[in-house]
């Protein structure tokens, strides 16, 4: 079973002369348990692809099936539900909520899913343990190092048991030591059978993935 199936995906910005073809006919599949790195220079369309895969943006044409569901037919509230249940986001700039403890940050997607506080807490603590930050649960993001913040973000992405972990340049803001930590966690998760899509422009990061999809000018090469 494929987690991601994209068929002839197009995305254009602007009109007339100024039209930019960010995606120009992308077709790809990601089966369950795969660990894929999407590579490309800036302007290659990899961020656009990531936004569409993450249900943050909609394609101009083409179909996208996420975990068997045709996402283009969903309305906003259903998309919110899909983002909550099916996708775990990991961003370059961590995107933790400020002045909110690591534990509360990890609990947040569960809160939006309507899970009871007690269960939420147990699951969030388990996710934090998975990334090795149990002792930092009560710390606010500004009390954590970049690597620790990204690990909290990974815990937050994991906690809902999503079908897909989607990481956008997860090591872009990290030093080499923290990069190793984070990549180690990804490898471990992949070992447990998690489906991971990782967007990067660093070759050594992409090397950790099982396979690499390269984009140039909105097409797969």
């Amino acid at each position: 079973m494929n987690v991601i199936e994209v068929q002839d995906l197009h995305k254009t910005y602007g009109h007339g002369e100024a039209t930019v073809r960010a995606l120009d006919g992308v077709t790809a599949t990601v089966p369950r348990g795969d660990y894929v790195a999407i590579m490309g220079s800036s302007g290659s369309g990899k961020s656009t692809l990531m936004n569409i895969i993450g249900c943050l943006d909609v394609p101009s044409s083409g179909t996208y099936r996420l975990d068997g569901v045709d996402v283009s037919e969903l309305d906003e509230s259903q998309l919110a539900l899909v983002r909550n249940r099916k996708i775990g986001f990991i961003f370059q700039s961590f995107n933790l909520i400020a002045r909110t403890s690591a534990l509360a940050n990890v609990e947040l997607p569960l809160a939006y899913a309507g899970i009871k506080p007690k269960e939420r807490r147990e699951r969030a603590l388990a996710a934090l343990e998975m990334v090795g930050l149990t002792d930092r649960a009560a710390h606010d993001p500004n009390q954590l190092s970049g690597g620790q913040q990204q690990r909290v973000a990974i815990a937050r992405a994991l906690v809902t048991e999503p079908a897909l972990l989607l990481a956008d340049e997860p090591t872009g803001n990290l030093d080499s030591h923290s990069t190793e930590d984070v990549m180690g966690i990804f490898s471990e998760l992949s070992g447990y059978g998690r489906t991971i899509v990782l967007i990067t422009h660093e070759d050594d990061v992409a090397a950790a993935a099982k396979r690499v999809i390269r984009l140039r000018d909105g097409r797969i090469i």
């Binding site: 906003e76 919110a80 983002r83 909110t100 939006y112």
Partner: protein
């Protein structure tokens, strides 16, 4: 996701910038406080006027001589004859003709101008609800003998005598000597005139020494009881019309008023005053509400990225909307609550000579309005926050 949890998010949002939240609440606090307090002041002054007017006597009817019918050829002046005739009316207890003059009172080296030097009969004291505080009132015998005795108001006594006991002292009124025999009990102000600044002497004595034997200025009539005031007024009107040969009642050469009418007029004025004060205060409440919109707009802009993160994590539109609406409402409700407390505390002080009386419904109204303001003025920023596309919100720096 339960309401309580969204509420906790909102609470954290409000607490994130305490100074800003505090200043926004201050705007609502001042608005709500001003509405409650100013309405209380208006209400207090209305109550004070009412009480003071009641102190002036509620059974009284006043006939004022006028010049309205001067060109009709009627006999337009009130005379002692007319006053005597009014005594025949069955619902009238007493009739006191009044001559009023403005005179300078002197005692030793001190002098004091009194607008209301009144010449009348003893019945005036009961009709106008003016009991004596010290000394005695003059009697019918004093009137018959045109005795030069005078009863003065409490303000007049303070102005003229300071620490000296006025009873038995001889004072000059317009250069004529009168003996002070009594001081009236204090009444308190009922508007523009001070009823405590007065000097009352027997009618013939005032006429002989000060005003001359011309027409009398007004007649004060006391009805038998409060219920028969309108009956008495009708009888008095009939007698007056007959005595003064009035054919066209619309241009009668006198005006007749009773205390209840006076009370109604004054109360109406005070109510207008209250509405006016409330309206001014409501404007400051509106300004406070706009302050909420303003600060919530800033908050939404500032937290655009956070909203984007929440949406990426699957926050439904409804939850975001509710969170920001609660934040706005929290600001207005806490501000409004503190404003109500401040106003109630402030109402225990005398403001501009008025003891404010808090109107409970104004508290409820102001609080209700502050909730509505939070919802109304918060709805635009909240719907903007909820309507943000996650992709735009996440890109926002």
């Amino acid at each position: 996701m339960s309401f309580i949890e969204i509420f906790k998010f909102a609470l954290r949002g409000v607490g994130a910038n305490k100074l800003r939240s505090g200043l926004t609440m201050l705007g609502i606090l001042i608005g709500v406080g001003a509405v409650i307090l100013l309405v209380a002041v208006g209400n207090g002054s209305a109550k004070a006027v009412e009480e003071n007017l009641q102190a002036l006597g509620t059974n009284q009817i006043t006939v004022q001589g006028g010049r309205a019918g001067a060109k009709t050829g009627y006999s337009t002046d009130l005379t002692l004859d007319i006053a005597e005739a009014l005594k025949d009316a069955p619902d009238v207890r007493s009739v006191s003709p009044l001559v009023t003059t403005s005179q300078t009172l002197t005692f030793g080296d001190s002098s004091h101008d009194v607008q209301q030097v009144i010449g009348t009969y003893p019945g005036y004291f009961t009709a106008s609800n003016s009991p004596v505080a010290k000394g005695a009132l003059f009697t019918q015998e004093d009137v018959d003998q045109a005795a030069r005795v005078v009863v003065i108001g409490s303000s007049t006594a303070t102005e003229l005598f300071a620490d000296t006991d006025p009873i038995g002292q001889r004072i000059g009124i317009g250069g004529q000597l009168f003996t002070v025999i009594g001081v009236l009990k204090e009444k308190g102000s009922a508007g523009f005139t001070n009823p405590d600044d007065t000097a009352i002497a027997p009618l013939p004595a005032v006429q002989r020494s000060l005003t001359g034997y011309g027409p009398i200025n007004s007649i004060m009539i006391e009805a038998v009881d409060a219920d028969s005031v309108s009956l008495a007024q009708a009888e008095v009107t009939a007698i007056l019309n007959a005595k003064m040969h009035v054919t066209n009642t619309a241009s009668a050469p006198y005006t007749i008023r009773n205390a209840a009418q006076l009370l109604a007029t004054r109360t109406e004025t005070a109510e207008t005053f209250t509405v006016l004060l409330g309206a001014v205060a409501a404007i400051s409440l509106l300004v406070g509400g706009i302050g909420i919109t303003n600060i919530m707009m800033v908050t939404v802009t500032e937290r655009t990225r956070e909203i984007g993160i929440r949406k990426a994590l699957g926050a439904p539109r409804r939850v975001i909307l509710t969170q920001f609406l609660i934040e706005a409402t929290l600001l207005s409700v806490v501000g409004g609550g503190l404003g109500a407390l401040a106003a109630i505390a402030g109402a225990s002080f005398t403001i501009a000579g008025v003891q404010p009386v808090v109107v409970p419904s104004s508290v409820a109204l102001a609080l209700g309005v502050s909730v509505a303001i939070g919802l109304f003025f918060g709805s635009y920023p909240a719907s903007r926050a909820a309507g943000l596309r996650p992709i735009d919100a996440l890109r926002y720096e």
